[in-house]
């Protein structure tokens, strides 16, 4: 096992290092998922019960392979989802993920998406809802290699802060060596709209229900592309939102 990272490392600059130390010795090497050419994989990552949850995954996609990951990050102390993806020709990587937490939780989603083949696509949508003194981060690097022409990559990152003490860090990052690529990225941090809250109240929703409903709208769409059984991720997200609303 390598040494415990420090916050000097870019990928750990917002990490809860003390919490990380408590699980570091048990952390195996990143789980590795290899997806053969033209294969299609969907995974739904539900949060567990532990207050500290760190998941590290490497995904290698061969030509034309597809991986769609749906992840909910709601650990009460520290939740970290770290994904390193490599895309060969025409492969696709999709990530739809939410950080939802309050109290003093530190929640982060850290991705590196390496486009090494031509015409590969990646689409990352991350929504964070943060109350109390929670810190939610998205650090997402898209690296496009010299030969990875016709890369099409999207990063959409939005955070909603419910309390003054909450913090959101959104950092989409691009490293592009090819010249025929599309790499869209957008990041916003906001709070609940007082006009929407009043409209909901005027229709009879009490403040907590109004906030929960608006937050549900904010993360809506993350789970809409799930094929088949959603394994309860939408319901788990709804419960987490109710808890912070």
């Amino acid at each position: 096992m390598t040494a415990l990272p420090t916050r000097k490392l870019e990928a750990f600059r917002y990490a809860d290092i003390d919490a990380l130390a408590s699980v570091w010795s048990e952390l195996a090497r990143p789980e590795r998922i290899e997806i053969a050419a033209q294969q299609n994989v969907q995974q739904i990552w539900l949060p567990g019960a532990d207050p500290v949850q760190v998941r590290r995954v490497e995904i290698a996609l061969e030509a034309g392979a597809r991986a769609n990951i749906f992840a909910l990050n709601t650990a009460t102390i520290y939740g970290r989802i770290e994904i390193d993806v490599t895309l060969a020709d025409g492969a696709h990587f999709g990530l739809d993920a939410a950080n939802i937490g309050g109290g003093s939780a530190t929640l982060e989603i850290v991705t590196t998406v390496r486009h090494i083949g031509v015409a590969a696509t990646s689409n990352q949508t991350v929504r964070s809802v943060l109350g109390g003194k929670a810190v939610g981060s998205y650090l997402g690097k898209v690296a496009v290699a010299r030969d990875a022409q016709q890369t099409d990559s999207v990063q959409s990152v939005k955070a909603m802060l419910l309390d003054r003490g909450a913090t959101a860090n959104c950092k989409p990052e691009l490293e592009i060596y090819a010249d025929d690529v599309k790499c869209a990225h957008g990041a916003t941090v906001g709070e609940l709209d007082p006009q929407q809250l009043f409209y909901a109240a005027a229709r009879g929703l009490d403040p907590a229900s109004a906030r929960a409903l608006l937050l549900e709208g904010f993360v809506a769409g993350l789970w809409s592309e799930i094929e088949g059984d959603d394994q309860g991720i939408a319901e788990a997200a709804r419960a987490a939102l109710k808890a912070v609303a």
Binding site: Q196, Y199, A201, A202, G204, P207, S209, G217
Partner: protein, 247 residues
Amino acid sequence: MLKIENLHATVAGKPILNGLTLTVPTGEVHAIMGPNGAGKSTLAYVLGGRPGYEVTAGSVEFEGRDLLALEPHERAAAGLFLGFQYPVEIPGVSSLQFVREALNSQRRARGEKELSGAEFIRLAKAEAAALGMDPEMLKRPVNLGFSGGEKKRSEMVQMGIMTPKLAILDETDSGLDIDALKAVGAGINRIMRAPDKAVLLITHYQRLLDYVKPDRVHVLSGGRITRSGGPELAHELEREGYVEVAA
């Protein structure tokens, strides 16, 4: 039903309502007309309890209760419906989900049984059809991408589902073409013209009053009621303008 006495209110420290007194008896439709900046929308928002609209003096009784002591959602549960001049868009939340949760929240507050999904959808579809709105639109996010007319019809559908005792409709006629105006007018009559209900219609123009006949018409100017009269007052205003009549 509604008794407003000597109401003073400020917005961002600026006085907008300056001693407004008005009574709307049960079973009646009253219209409030007035020029831009008279305080019409402020009155609607104060009655709805919008944050930032501060009452500095006066009282408002709704069915004998102190309306101003209630939170906005409690006013809705008590039977007050505020129709918005600019209905708010809520991305990601369908109209069906929004109205159902709002209605059930009201019903819980009143100690009534909540409607099941099937019961609610039946009710919502019937109300949409009555207002000439495609029920499929109820599956779309609240007011998102709706035209001005669709938003106002959607407000009336919500009113029909909520069946309030008192409706305060803030420029519900603005932005409507003739067909939508007729549909909305018919909706107000059908839902709210009843011996146990009342309506306060806030409007610039007389044209909605061709479809919803008011029992009384009041002129709001400078934050107070400067004249009151029968339906003919609306025609006088339309003919001669606010400057002449309200002065």
